[in-house]
């Protein structure tokens, strides 16, 4: 496991869920969290700040999660997407857009953190990102 800081953007329109995700993620000092409350804001922040990971919801006002994923993949952005959805149809669309990591709902802290640690280890140690 890397000891470098990993920047995570939480993109979800539901404030309660954003808060809950942030609380879990921030219990580990490895991660630094920022937030976006809709799809357009998520895309803008990813392109501007280039976080290491985005936790991406699908049902958001403006661009949906799948649309954000499609645009990110087309732009060649190096941010790793972790898609949060339980809907199989949405999962297939996201997969087709190039998303590799998924979390279902309802999700717990353990599964969230297990996956984030794996993704962080992969994207930071592979040198894909320039960690802050």
């Amino acid at each position: 496991m890397t000891s470098r800081i990993c920047r995570i953007l939480i993109a979800d329109d539901d404030e309660d869920l954003r808060d809950a995700l942030r609380t879990c993620v921030e219990q580990e000092r490895l991660f630094r969290v920022s937030e976006a409350e809709n799809g357009n804001q998520a895309l803008d922040r990813i392109l501007a700040d280039q976080p290491d990971i985005v936790l991406l919801d699908h049902r958001m006002p403006g661009l949906t999660g799948v649309e954000v994923a499609q645009r990110l993949c087309a732009s060649g952005a190096a941010t790793t997407i972790v898609f949060i959805t339980a809907a199989t149809t949405v999962r297939e669309l996201a997969r087709a857009a190039g998303v590799r990591w998924f979390l279902g709902k309802p999700l717990g802290c353990d599964e969230l953190m297990d996956l984030l640690r794996r993704v962080a280890a992969e994207c930071l140690t592979a040198g894909v990102r320039t960690p802050v």
């Binding site: 049902r59 006002p61 802290c109």
Partner: protein, 397 residues
């Protein structure tokens, strides 16, 4: 319970095994009642008879309770995380008291393997194991804490056990979430997580039930909105609650009780909102007819606006409840829910982006009819409250 009380309880146990008398003056009330039950069940206070189900029956038990076990696993894990390295066991039992699942430290797991501590498949009813966090919670149908010597059976007297009965969607007890630790202080530390865990498990059971009954209805009634996606919204609140319980468990382990308390309080509030939405789903989708009663239309509209909140936001549409008057309708709430659900879907499908749709409940025809009117012109006519006094056949919507 103070050290003196513990000594009094030990004394009560000695009196009981020597004379068969329950020394009521030395015991807490619920302990007395439980000991009376254990006595009449001929439970042996000297022997902990941990009988484990044979493999075939264990497999049947697991199959029958698969949904409950799946619902409980994250919360058993959270309880175990909260206690940390201390000796403990977080247990799930079915409605009879058979242990279905267990999370524990290594030492306790070894004891379970050696048969000196309960394990999966063991019956923990009061008849089998005396007063304990599982059997007594089931007998009382209520939360129970059994401290040290309050355990009727001597072999369990070094533990402090707590159990909370779990209720299914029909409010029938379907199992128990229990926690066994070695000290009263640890028991106190994890009590709130135990309660929130029980609430979380019940929410998961409700979600499972609601999802299975709403699928067909939503797919037909939601039309172009997409039932699968609409159902996802129900899970949002539950997800937010569950993440907070997990975070509270970690905060408890790290001795940050205030933070844990606040997280659990928010989790409980979110779960309460989830239950309200789930109940609305059940009302809307239930097929059987219920009794006619007065329905506050403003409450129904407010619940439906919350239910469609995400979908409306995605379409850049906003529902605004205009509460000019209190309007009641007299009908089966499920029928009202179904009618109004369809009306909301219709509005969402045609509303241009950026629209605010006003919705108002009012009376018509001198109170014989109640109406829900949308600012777009759509209206839904319902039987008004004055029909309550008419014969039943005249009341049908």
């Amino acid at each position: 319970m103070e050290p003196n009380d513990l000594e009094r309880t030990r004394e009560a146990w000695r009196i009981y095994v020597q004379t068969g008398r329950i020394a009521r003056e030395l015991l807490r009330e619920r302990t007395q009642i439980s000991w009376v039950r254990c006595g009449s069940l001929k439970t042996d206070p000297h022997t902990l008879a941990l009988r484990k189900l044979p493999d075939a029956e264990l497999a049947t038990l697991a199959r029958r309770n698969a949904v409950l076990v799946r619902a409980a696993q994250p919360f058993l894990r959270a309880l175990s995380v909260a206690v940390g390295a201390e000796q403990h066991a977080a247990l799930l039992a079915d409605a009879e008291g058979f242990v279905l699942e267990m999370r524990s430290d290594e030492k306790t797991a070894q004891a379970a393997q050696q048969g000196t501590f309960p394990s999966v498949g063991v019956l923990m009813s009061e008849a089998a194991a005396g007063s304990n966090g599982i059997g007594t919670a089931l007998a009382d149908q209520d939360y129970i804490e059994i401290i040290g010597p309050e355990h009727f059976v001597e072999a369990l007297a070094s533990y402090t056990c707590q159990g909370v009965p779990l209720r299914g969607p029909e409010r029938k007890v379907v199992g128990v979430l229990a926690m066994t630790v070695r000290s009263m202080q640890t028991a106190e530390r994890v009590r709130e997580i135990l309660f929130s865990g029980a609430v979380g498990i019940e929410a998961e059971l409700v979600r499972h039930h609601v999802e299975s009954v709403v699928r067909a209805f939503v797919d037909s009634a939601a039309g172009p909105i997409g039932g699968d996606e609409l159902r996802q919204d129900l899970v949002q609140l539950q997800s937010a609650a569950r993440l907070r319980v997990d975070a509270a468990a970690e905060a408890t382990r790290q001795s940050r009780p205030r933070e844990a308390f606040n997280l659990l309080r928010t989790a409980d509030e979110l779960t309460r909102r989830f239950h309200r939405q789930a109940e609305l789903w059940r009302q809307v989708t239930g097929e059987q007819e219920g009794p006619l009663r007065l329905v506050d239309l403003n409450e129904s509209l407010s619940d439906l606006i919350e239910l469609f909140e995400t979908e409306a936001a995605l379409r850049d549409v906003r529902f605004v409840l205009e509460q000019k008057t209190r309007a009641l309708a007299y009908l089966d709430p499920r029928a009202a829910g179904r009618l109004l659900f369809r009306a909301f879907v219709k509005e969402l499908c045609v509303a241009p982006r950026g629209t605010a749709i006003g919705v108002e409940a009012r009376y018509a025809q001198g109170g014989t009819e109640a109406m829900v009117v949308f600012s777009t012109g759509q209206s839904v006519l319902l039987p008004g409250p004055s029909l309550e006094k008419r014969p039943l056949e005249a009341r049908s919507p």
